[in-house]
C-alpha cells in the first residue's frame, strides 16, 4: 500500500514538473534592459513604445533617477502631461516592490512571533513589544506600496498617434475622441479586441487593444512576446 502511494506521488510530481517545463520560456525583464530598450525607442522617434518601456522599468526600479528623468523627458517632448506624485507616494514608492513585499512577510513574522511568545513567556517584554511595532511598520509600508502600485496594474500606454477612442467596442463605432501617442490611460474593462479606457481627464472610450500597450503585460501578451523572441 505504501509503495502504491509513493508511486502515485512520484507520478504526480513528474506530471507537475513536465507541465512546468513544457511551458514556453517566459521573457526576462530587467530594469536596465527595459530602460535601454526605451531609450532606443525614443531615439527611433517612437514615444509610445518608449514610455511603455520606461513605465515597465520604473516598476522594477522605481527609485532609478535615469528612468524617471527620461520618462518625463519623452512625455514632455510628446506633449503628454507628466505624472505628479505626492511626497508620501514618492517615499513609499521609492522602495523596490520586491523588497517591500518581503518586508511585509518579515513584518508578519515579527508580529506573529511577538504575540505567540507572549503567550508562553513573560520575559523580554520590551523586546517583544519592539518586534511587534517594527513588524506592524513593515506591514504598513508593504500594504501602502501595494495600494499605490495597484492602479498601475491596469494602466496602458497609447502606442500610435491619433488613436481613435470609439463609443462602442466595434471597429465601425463612432469616434468619440482621439488619443495622443504616449498618453497613459487606465483600462477599465475589456471586450474582445477592445479595451474601455479612461483618461486622466475622466473621459472614457473604447480603444483597439492593438493600439495600447499594457504596462504589466497580460499572460497572452507575455506568451506572444516569448514566441516573438524565440523567432
Amino acid at each position: 500500500m505504501r509503495a502504491l502511494r509513493v508511486a502515485m506521488l512520484l507520478i504526480a510530481l513528474a506530471l507537475c514538473g513536465g507541465q512546468t517545463y513544457a511551458q514556453p520560456a517566459q521573457p526576462r525583464y530587467s530594469a536596465d534592459g527595459l530602460y535601454n530598450l526605451a531609450n532606443s525607442y525614443a531615439r527611433a522617434g517612437k514615444p509610445g513604445l518608449a514610455v511603455l518601456n520606461y513605465e515597465r522599468a520604473a516598476l522594477l526600479a522605481p527609485d532609478d533617477p535615469d528612468i524617471n528623468a527620461n520618462l518625463d523627458h519623452v512625455r514632455a517632448a510628446a506633449h503628454v502631461a507628466t505624472r505628479s506624485r505626492g511626497r508620501l507616494a514618492r517615499i513609499v514608492q521609492a522602495v523596490n516592490p520586491t523588497y517591500s513585499a518581503w518586508a511585509g512577510v518579515a513584518g508578519i513574522l515579527l508580529v506573529g512571533f511577538g504575540l505567540v511568545v507572549r503567550r508562553v513567556a513573560a520575559r523580554f517584554l520590551w523586546v517583544r513589544i519592539s518586534g511587534i511595532l517594527i513588524g506592524a511598520v513593515l506591514i504598513g509600508l508593504s500594504a501602502s506600496n501595494a495600494m499605490l502600485l495597484w492602479p498601475r496594474m491596469h494602466e496602458a500606454v497609447v502606442l500610435i498617434n491619433q488613436a481613435p477612442a470609439r463609443v462602442s467596442p466595434v471597429p465601425m463605432g463612432d469616434t468619440a475622441f482621439v488619443l495622443p501617442e504616449a498618453e497613459t490611460v487606465t483600462i477599465v474593462a475589456e471586450h474582445e479586441d477592445f479595451a474601455l479606457i479612461r483618461t486622466r481627464g475622466g473621459v472614457s472610450g473604447w480603444v483597439a487593444r492593438a493600439n495600447l500597450g499594457a504596462v504589466v503585460p497580460q499572460a497572452r501578451d507575455s506568451l506572444d512576446s516569448a514566441a516573438l523572441n524565440s523567432r
Binding site: D32, R43, N70, L109, L159, I160, M172, N229
Partner: protein
C-alpha cells in the same frame, strides 16, 4: 335695299345704345385682373404680381397669404389699356412674390372679381425643369416643341390634361425592378394645381422611389400648349399573374359653367361680355386616370435556384478590395464588396463572412449609391470590418453573389478573387523587440526625443520573469497567507503552562508561610498551610475542597498523608490551644508543604 339696311343698322345701334351703359357698368365692376411674370421661376428668384383695375384708381389691396410665398408691394402705376378698341384708364399695383420652396402655387385673387394666378417654382438646381423656358440660342429654333399625344392616351378634363404610364416591358419576374415613367400633361391656366403625386392602381405592385420633383418641359399638343411633367419610378410585382395597370392623378381644373353657345355669343359681342362669361369659370378638383397597361408577371424558376439566393433580380457585377492594405495584428481592416449593375438592389444581400480562420469578423453594413434618379442602376457597397488575429501571410477567400438574370432567364453567380495580405506584428506585441532605427522615416521627431536623454545603462545586472510586483502574484501571496495562518494557529494552540502558574502561586503561598514562621505566628502558619494544601489537593484531584477528607488524603498520598494529617491537627491545636512550635518545626513543616504544593510529594 339700302333703306332696309340702314333701318337695321339704326335698330342695332339703338339696341347697343340701350345696352351699352349696362355692359360698361358690368365691365366697370368686373375689369380688374391679375397677372404674374414670369409664371415659372427657380427657387431663389422672384416674380412680379401685377394687379390691374380698369375701373379707376386701385385702393390698397390686402397682400395674400400663401404658404411658401412671401409678398411685398414694390410700386404703383397709372396708364391706359385698350380693350376691343376702347381705351380705358388703368391703375396697377406691383407686388414682388418670393418663394421659399419649390412647388406649384395658386395665388388667390386680390380683388373681389379677379381670378387666381398660378406660379410654378422649381428647385434651384433643377436645370431640366426650366430648360424649356430659357431663351433659345438661335432665333430660328421654335420656342416649344410640338409633339403628338402619346399613342392610346386621351385628353381628359375637357382637353386640359392627360396622364400616361410608360412601361418599357410587359413581361417581368416577381421581385424584378422595372423602371417606369409617369407623364402628366396639363394646360397652364386651366389646370391650376396638382393635388398630389400620381398613384398606382392595383395592390399587386409597388411603386418605389417616385421622384419628388418631376421633369418639366413645354409641348404643343394638338395645337395647345401643355406643360408635361414626368416622374421616374421603379415598379415591382409582388406575385405572378396577368395584371392591368393605371395611374391616378388628382388635379384642380377651371371648368366653365356656361354653355358653348353662350361663350360663342359672348365672344361675338366683344370684351365686356366675354369678361362676364369668364366670371362663370370655377375651379374643380378632379382625378384623371391613365389608360390601362397590360403586364404579365412570371414567377422565378425553382430549378437551379442557389441556396444563398436572396431575391436579387437583375444584372450585377462584383468586385472586392481591402483597406488598409498593410496592417498589424489587432488592427481593424475593412473588406469591401462592390456590387454594381441594374436591378433590385434592395434585395442584393451577399453573405459576408460569419467566421474566418485567423480573423475576427464583425457584422457588415451596406450603402447604396444610385446612378439614376430612381435607384435602378448604381453600386451597393458592403463593408465588413475584420481584425487579423495573428501576424503573417493571410488569405481572405473570395465573396459570392447569387442573382437571377431576367435577360438570360437563369440564375447566375458572381465571384470575387481571394485577397492576400501580410499582417505585421502588432506594436504591443513587439514592444520588447529592439526598434529598427534605420527604417525610421521621421528623423526630426527622433531627434526631438533623443535630445536630452540620459545615457544607456550598463548590461542588466538582474532580471525577473514577471513584471507584476510580488504583491499581486498568487504564488507569493501564498507565503504571507500561510505564515499568517500558521502564526494564528500557534497563538490559539499555545496555552499558558498551568504548572508554571501553579508554581508561581505556590511560591507566593510559601513566601507568606515563611513570613508567618518568622513572626512565630503559628495560627497564621498552620491555617494558611491547611488552606493552601486543600486548594492544591482539590485542584489536583479535581474535586471541591470541602470534599477532601483525611481518608482521601491517606488513600492518595500514602505515608505523606500521615504528615499532612498531623499538620491539619496542629492547625486545629494552634487555632484552639495556641500551640507554639519551635523554629525547627516550622522549617520541617515548610519543607513538607513545599513538597506538596510543587508536586514533589505526589
Amino acid at each position: 335695299m339700302r333703306a332696309w339696311t340702314m333701318q337695321w343698322v339704326r335698330v342695332i345701334v339703338a339696341i347697343l345704345g340701350l345696352f351699352a351703359p349696362v355692359g360698361y357698368a358690368m365691365a366697370q365692376e368686373a375689369l380688374a385682373y391679375e397677372t404674374i411674370q414670369p409664371s415659372h421661376i427657380r427657387l431663389g428668384e422672384s416674380a412680379t404680381l401685377r394687379v390691374t383695375s380698369l375701373s379707376g384708381e386701385l385702393k390698397n389691396v390686402p397682400l395674400p397669404a400663401v404658404s411658401g410665398l412671401s409678398f411685398e408691394e414694390i410700386g404703383r402705376s397709372q396708364g391706359l389699356e385698350f380693350v376691343n378698341g376702347i381705351s380705358l384708364p388703368s391703375s396697377s399695383i406691383l407686388i414682388r412674390v418670393t418663394p421659399q420652396m419649390a412647388g406649384i402655387f395658386s395665388i388667390p385673387g386680390l380683388t373681389p372679381k379677379s381670378e387666381p394666378v398660378v406660379l410654378d417654382v422649381v428647385g434651384a438646381d433643377d436645370s431640366s425643369a426650366l430648360g424649356s423656358r430659357k431663351p433659345p440660342p438661335a432665333p430660328t429654333r421654335p420656342l416649344v416643341a410640338t409633339a403628338p399625344l402619346p399613342k392610346g392616351v386621351e385628353l381628359k378634363a375637357g382637353g386640359a390634361a392627360f396622364v400616361h404610364l410608360v412601361i418599357p416591358r410587359h413581361e417581368v419576374y416577381v421581385g424584378e425592378s422595372v423602371p417606369v415613367d409617369i407623364e402628366v400633361g396639363v394646360r397652364p391656366g386651366i389646370v391650376t394645381s396638382l393635388n398630389g403625386l400620381p398613384t398606382l392602381n392595383g395592390g399587386e405592385f409597388t411603386l418605389n422611389n417616385l421622384s419628388r420633383e418631376p421633369e418639366r418641359r413645354d409641348r404643343v399638343i394638338d395645337g395647345s400648349p401643355f406643360l408635361v411633367m414626368t416622374w421616374h419610378s421603379v415598379l415591382a410585382a409582388v406575385k405572378p399573374g396577368d395584371f392591368s395597370l393605371s395611374v391616378d392623378t388628382p388635379l384642380t381644373v377651371k371648368i366653365n359653367a356656361r354653355s358653348a353657345e353662350d361663350m360663342a355669343f359672348a365672344a361675338w359681342l366683344g370684351g365686356p361680355f366675354l369678361q362676364s362669361m369668364y366670371n362663370g369659370i370655377a375651379p374643380k378638383e378632379i382625378t384623371i386616370t391613365s389608360p390601362s397597361s397590360e403586364l404579365k408577371v412570371l414567377p422565378l424558376p425553382l430549378e437551379g435556384r442557389p441556396k444563398d439566393f436572396s431575391g436579387a433580380v437583375g444584372d450585377f457585377q462584383v468586385s472586392s478590395d481591402i483597406s488598409p492594405t498593410r496592417a498589424a495584428a489587432g488592427d481593424p481592416v475593412t473588406l469591401r464588396l462592390h456590387v454594381s449593375g441594374a436591378g433590385n438592389f434592395d434585395r442584393v444581400d451577399p453573405s459576408m463572412f460569419d467566421h474566418l480562420d485567423h480573423w475576427k469578423t464583425y457584422p457588415a453594413k451596406s450603402s447604396f449609391t444610385p446612378s439614376d434618379a430612381v435607384g435602378y442602376k448604381g453600386e451597393k457597397v458592403f463593408e465588413q470590418p475584420l481584425i487579423a488575429a495573428q501576424p503573417g501571410e493571410q488569405s481572405i477567400p473570395g465573396l459570392e453573389l447569387s442573382y437571377f438574370n431576367p435577360s438570360t432567364r437563369h440564375y447566375e453567380r458572381a465571384r470575387t478573387p481571394p485577397i492576400k495580405m501580410t499582417i505585421a506584428t502588432s506594436l504591443a506585441d513587439s514592444s520588447l523587440s529592439a526598434p529598427v532605427e534605420a527604417k525610421n522615416p521621421d528623423g526630426a521627431a527622433a531627434n526631438l526625443f533623443a535630445q536630452g536623454l540620459r545615457p544607456d545603462h550598463s548590461q542588466p545586472r538582474s532580471s525577473t520573469g514577471e513584471l507584476r510586483p510580488l504583491f499581486f502574484q498568487v504564488p507569493f501571496l501564498a507565503v504571507p497567507a500561510s505564515l499568517a495562518l500558521i502564526l494564528a494557529g500557534s497563538w490559539f494552540a499555545v496555552r499558558p503552562n498551568p504548572a508554571r502558574t501553579t508554581s508561581k502561586a505556590a511560591e507566593r503561598t510559601l513566601a507568606q508561610l515563611s513570613a508567618a514562621a518568622r513572626r512565630d505566628d503559628s495560627f497564621s502558619f498552620f491555617d494558611g498551610a491547611r488552606n493552601a494544601l486543600l486548594q492544591t489537593f482539590a485542584a489536583r484531584w479535581h474535586m471541591p475542597p470541602d470534599q477532601v477528607t483525611l481518608a482521601e488524603m491517606k488513600l492518595r498520598l500514602g505515608a505523606a498523608g500521615e504528615d499532612v494529617e498531623r499538620l491539619f491537627a496542629l492547625a486545629d491545636e494552634a487555632k484552639y490551644s495556641h500551640y507554639q512550635p519551635g523554629s525547627t518545626d516550622f522549617q520541617r513543616w515548610l519543607g513538607l508543604i513545599r513538597g506538596q504544593l510543587i508536586g514533589e510529594g505526589k
